[in-house]
Structure formats: structure tokens, C-alpha cells
Point group: C2
Chain length 411, copies 2
């Protein structure tokens, strides 16, 4: 089965899927520090062997940032990262001064193990919020993890950063560029499942193309804007979200700014991150239905607000879960997002079937529509007055599994 299994994502023709493995110049592994009560792998290490590696990163904008996010933002050379050390099972968030000390210890130990400067090691954590992190356990585990580093370690690394993920979020691609083939890989966890104590989207992307840091930043920014910034599981911004793109240059293929190759690599990265983002949504709360709300209209702020309101509405999400083509809830959510604009001549279509036009209901075959919303992916389209602005958000449904995970599994 193809990695690109959403009907909304097309694999570009110049992109081929590989069974796995990291691009040249990268090695990864995971190990056990005993952070997870289950005893499963909970420490991941990713190292780039190239001294001139370039990188870019994006982080959550939460006012309550986890210690590793604060540390990585403030003390790392984000344009020249060469390693990532990550743990699962504990977010090291809301842990105060002690949490910063723990993150610093992780960074130092990973720098020693990987043989790179501390300022080139990004630190990430994911798991329970507000519990002190036992950094010493991670430090003790790192030599063994380092000994396992290999260019086939991407699967192990993915396991080491996962928490309650059910769907593996990992891909290895070959991208044909004018200068020759390069490789592109990604390992991600969660977001989807924001479970009792586990929050966080982590995504690590590697390529062996040679990119200057500004190109890394441009490509990552543009593709995050179309992927991780367009998804919602329960509308909850995490304390730990981190996305890192690293380029080793080990393929010898250089991608210059504003070239056809930059565009082709960007297209590959775009499809990759959008598919990963949809997998995060699909992994959301067990039920596995993914909604896509597309809003068009004359004002950017309005289409954005309306799309977010629909994606985050528990009424829309429960209807998606129940296979209920309840367009009244779409209208209600849009109205809430745009106070004081009544009467709005709203258009709504579900799976291509118009149900509301200019604010008045459209006769349609309800049984047929119920059939159409019974699938794994459902698209809703909203038309606001005017033209020129449009946006989309992918969102998960809300079912009993979410409540069970988040209410019944108590501390």
C-alpha cells in the first residue's frame, strides 16, 4: 500500500517510495531509559555525520513552552543542527527550572555521544506534562543508543519517539532532481492523539540534498503552513510541538534557490508533510475518520476563522463520527466564527452535494448524502460572500474512544 493513501494527496511523478532507511549522512537509533512505564523504547537519537549540515525548525507558539523547546530555541544554532535527542513518556513541560536543567543534561549527553557541539543538538520531549523528567536515566541510556546508530535506524527512531500512536508515521522517498536523485525521509509522532497526558507533534525530516540554511527554512516554512498548520484534532495547541528539517548534502546534489530543483524538492516535501499531517489526524481518536473543510470567500480572516470554527466544533466532529450529514452544524459554526455579519448568504456543500445556497436550504437526496459521508474521508465546502480567499483544515472526528482515553484513564 502506498504511503500516500489519502485521496487528497497525490504523489508527485518525480517521487518514488522506498521501503525505508535514512538519506546518506544520517544515522538513527532508539533505546530504553525506563521513562515509559511499559518499558518500550523511549529515547531516540538522530545524528548527521556532515559538519556542514544545514537545518531549519518550527515550534509551537504556546505560552507554556516545554523546557526542551525553550532550550532548543534559545541555545541552538537552528540553521545548523546536526543531531536530535528526543524522549517519549514525559513532556518535560511545566517543570520549571528543574526541567531546563534536565533538558540541558540531555543535550550535553547527546552532544558527547554524537560527537557534535551541544548548540547543534536539538532536544525534544513528549509525554506527561508537569512531572519531573529523569534526565539521568536518559544520559545513562545514550551510550547504548549511540552504539546502535545506523542508516536503517529510522523505524527504531520512530518507535522511540512514539507515545500512543497507532499508525506509524514514517516515510522514505527518492526524489528525482535535475542534478540527480536525492533522498527524503521523515519520522513523526502523534499530535493526533492528544491523550491523557500525551501531547505533542514531533516530526523530523532529513534529506541528502545540499541546501543552504535559507532554503531549508523557506521549504520548511512553506510546507508546514500547508500541512501541520492546517490540522486539528481537538483544537489543543501542544506545549512541545517541534518540526526539524536537516540536510546533509551527502548526495552531492545541490539545490540552489529559485530553481526548478528547489520547486521539485518542495513539491516532494509538501506531499510528504501533508500526508504525515493527515496521518496524525487519522490517528486522532481511534475512529479514524478525517474531515476536510474548505472555505472560500472574499476575506482571508473570515475564511480562516470559519474553517477553524468548523474543524474545532464538537458538534461537527461528532456528526462526522456518526456518519451524519448534519449541515446545520456547519452553518452554526460558521455563524459563530463571524459574529455580527448576519444575514450571511452562505453556501454549503458536503461531498460535492449542495445543501445550502445563498442562505436557503437546497433540496437533495438525504439517503444518498448519508451514503457519501460514510467513508473514511469527508469533504465539506463553505462559500462566503466574495472571492479571492480560500483555506482548508483537516480535522478528526470525535467519538467514544476520545472520551474513554481522556476521561476514564485517570492519573
Amino acid at each position: 500500500m502506498s504511503f500516500f493513501d489519502s485521496r487528497w494527496i497525490d504523489r508527485p511523478d518525480h517521487v518514488a517510495e522506498l521501503p525505508g532507511g535514512l538519506p546518506r549522512g544520517f544515522r538513527a537509533a532508539s533505546g530504553r531509559a525506563g521513562i515509559k512505564p511499559s518499558g518500550k523504547p523511549d529515547v531516540g537519537l538522530l545524528v548527521c555525520d556532515r559538519v556542514d549540515a544545514t537545518s531549519a525548525a518550527r515550534f509551537t507558539r504556546s505560552g507554556v513552552l516545554a523546557a526542551p523547546v525553550l532550550l532548543t530555541q534559545e541555545r541552538c544554532r537552528l540553521e545548523g543542527l546536526r543531531a536530535v535527542v528526543a524522549n517519549s513518556g514525559n513532556a518535560n513541560a511545566a517543570t520549571g527550572r528543574r526541567g531546563l536543567d534536565a533538558a540541558t543534561k540531555m543535550q550535553g549527553a547527546a552532544a558527547v555521544a554524537g560527537g557534535v557541539a551541544a548548540e547543534r543538538v536539538a532536544v525534544c520531549s513528549t509525554g506527561v506534562i508537569g512531572v519531573p523528567l529523569d534526565a539521568d536515566a536518559i544520559v545513562r541510556a545514550l551510550p547504548d543508543v549511540h552504539a546502535e546508530l545506523s542508516d536503517g535506524g529510522d523505524a527504531a527512531f520512530t518507535e522511540g519517539i512514539s507515545t500512543t500512536d497507532v499508525i506509524e508515521k514514517r516515510a522514505a522517498l527518492q526524489v528525482e532532481l535535475g542534478g540527480g536523485p536525492v533522498r527524503l525521509s521523515a519520522q513523526a509522532k502523534g499530535a493526533g492523539m492528544i491523550s491523557p497526558h500525551f501531547a505533542t507533534l514531533l516530526c523530523f525530516v532529513q534529506t541528502d540534498a545540499a541546501l543552504d540554511a535559507a532554503t531549508c527554512d523557506l521549504l520548511l516554512g512553506a510546507t508546514c503552513a500547508r500541512s501541520f498548520e492546517r490540522i486539528s484534532v481537538d483544537g489543543q495547541l501542544s506545549t512541545n510541538d517541534t518540526v526539524v528539517l536537516m540536510a546533509s548534502g551527502a548526495s552531492g546534489v545541490r539545490v540552489e534557490p529559485e530553481t526548478e530543483d528547489e520547486l521539485r524538492l518542495g513539491e516532494a516535501l509538501d506531499a510528504l508533510l501533508r500526508q504525515v499531517a493527515i496521518l496524525c489526524v487519522r490517528d486522532g481518536e481511534g475512529a479514524g475518520r478525517v474531515g476536510r473543510i474548505v472555505v472560500r470567500g472574499g476575506q482571508h480572516l473570515h475564511v480562516e476563522a470559519a474553517a477553524r470554527a468548523v474543524a474545532d466544533s464538537p458538534l461537527v466532529k461528532t456528526a462526522l463520527n456518526g456518519g451524519d450529514p448534519n449541515w446545520g452544524r456547519i452553518a452554526q459554526a460558521v455563524g459563530m466564527a463571524l459574529p455580527g455579519t448576519a444575514p450571511l448568504p452562505l453556501d454549503i456543500a458536503i461531498e460535492g452535494v449542495p445543501v445550502l445556497s445563498g442562505g436557503a436550504p437546497v433540496d437533495h437526496d438525504v439517503a444518498d448524502l448519508e451514503q457519501r459521508v460514510a467513508g473514511r474521508e469527508v469533504v465539506y465546502e463553505v462559500g462566503l460572500p466574495g472571492e479571492g480567499a480560500d483555506t482548508e483544515v483537516f480535522f478528526s472526528d470525535l467519538g467514544h474512544a476520545y472520551v474513554t482515553l481522556n476521561a476514564e484513564y485517570t492519573t
Copy 2:
């Protein structure tokens, strides 16, 4: 059992509870128009016999306003309403031009039945969104409803405007003023339960005190701001919310602006509407737990955003449902509300027990705290930097009943 049964609402000493009945000058009744498939009462009529009655009203600000809200806002003398006609079972929202015609028919028929000018009749609807309303059925039912009008019709009227409400939201009070006793009553439906197709908070308040229209507006605005504007069930703004205060003056007790009596009547109205608001939250999704988030800090916009984020977080709501004192979710929600402010030296207390201080965890007895959050009402307090601003939001939990109602009960 007292109507004022929340530990957060105190009955003022000058307020006494009555078993029921409307203040002098008011009569109400309900009837059956066949809008509700169950055949239960679905039309309510409330009439004030005094020509010089005064009033004030508040409405949802949704961009998708129901037809009756548009009609009442645009064509009524909101400072001199003398009647309310309301139906349940159909919200007459997202119904276009046809919906406005239906609301106009309801208004005209109620005006004839009640013997008042159409512009003094407020129209309200609650129920399914997007389905044409059979106004003719309501018109046919109104003569019978009118024949039933009585000053003891408040219970019947409440039934006629209810949809999926489990808790009756109705009160009759006597308020001792300097000029003598006056009466104050209220009938409300829902909000709490925003169920498959039923949205809407409706609340009708009557007094036989004599108030000028400006006083009505002042009192209603100030008390709505502390009651219906401080609650959240699922964060979803309705298309139909309407609150109407009417004063008949039939007691002969006049309440002048800026007097002790105005303050005393305001205190009574405040306690009444806050208790009704909490009942709406408690009726929310079946489980019946009510959370109260209090946020203090230096900036009004910050405390408001933080309180809303906590109240609307499905993670906080499921924790409340599960009796889980999960303060990490409070920290996460506050961080989300205040992007770019990290690191926030946040304080959090649950049921008076400090769990986070200046951004660092506080040791506490977890078993004891679990005991404290097992009750019907749970208070969370958040301290942001600075002083001088504070706010609160009352919110419902999120449990399986919500999902069952909203996902499994399909169209």
C-alpha cells in the same frame, strides 16, 4: 430543595422563593402544534396585560441568525415588548426568505391572539436547524394556547419552549424593596444541551416592578454579562439565543435609576440568572459536573482568553468528567490562549490546592485532590502575572453521553 442549589450562588437575604406563578400583569400558556415529533407541547405564549410594559432583550451575535432573531431585532420595539411567542422543535434557522415569512406569520398570529401590536411581540424558535418551519400549524394552535393563558402558566410555558432539557429551569421569587415587595420570575431552556439538532438558549424574565426601559436594559445587560455570557457547554454559539426581560409595573412599586432598590432588584436578578446559567451548564451533556475556571492577572484580554481556553478545552472537560485532577491540561490550555508569552510564571490551584506555582510544580497529596474533584462542582484557579483583572467561566464536562447524543443519534 432551594432553587439556588449551586455552592457558588447565594440567595440574597431580601429574596424569597415562591413555589411558582408569574408576577402580576403576566399570563402564559403552552400548546401543541405538532412541530415536535413526540407530540409534546411545542408552542408557548407569554403576554403582559399592561399597555405601558417596558422591556429589554439580548441576542446571539452569530453571523447565521435564525429568522425569528432577525425579525425580532429588526421589527420589534425592544424597549416595549408585551408578548413572546416561542416554538420548540424547529429553530427556523438557515431557512432563508421562507423562514422570515414563517416568523412573520407567528408574530402576526400572536399579536391577534394576545391583542397587542405586532411590533410588541418577540418571536423565538428552538430546535432543528435548516428545516422549514410549519408556521401555519403554530397559527392554528395559537387560539387554544391563548384560551389557556393564566398567571400560573409559567410551568406550562417552560415545557412548551423546552427541547432536550432534563432539568427544569424555572423560578419564581419575591424581592423585598423599599417601596414594597415585587415579584420576579424566569423560564429558560437548554443551551446546556446542544444536541443533535437542538441548539439555543432561551430565557424569559418577568417582574411586576415598574422600571423605565433604560433600567430594564441596564439591569439585563449587567446581569447577562455575569451569567449567560460566562458559560460554555461545548463552546458553540447558537443561532437562536434570546433573553427577554419584561416589566409590567403592576405591583405599583417603581424602581428609580441609581437607587438602593435598583441595586436590590439587580442583586436578585443577578442571583437568578447566574443560577439559571449554571443549570444550563449542568444540563449540558448528562453527566452533570460543572467546572468553574477563575483567572486572575494583569491584563483583561489575557484573563478572558485563558478562561475561555480552559472552559472550552475537550481535554479539561474530559478530565472533569473522569474526576481526574489533571492540571497539566489547564497549563496547556492557558499556554495555547497566550501564544508567544513563554515562559509564563503560571500559578494553578484546583479546589484550593496549589499544584503549580510560578511555573514549577508544587508537591501535593494527589489522593486527597482526587477526592476533592469527585464532587458535582469543581473550581480551578489560574494566576497570570500582574494584578487587577479577573474573570470566570462556568463549563460542563465532556462525557460519553455527549458523544452518544451527538454522534449516534443521526438524522
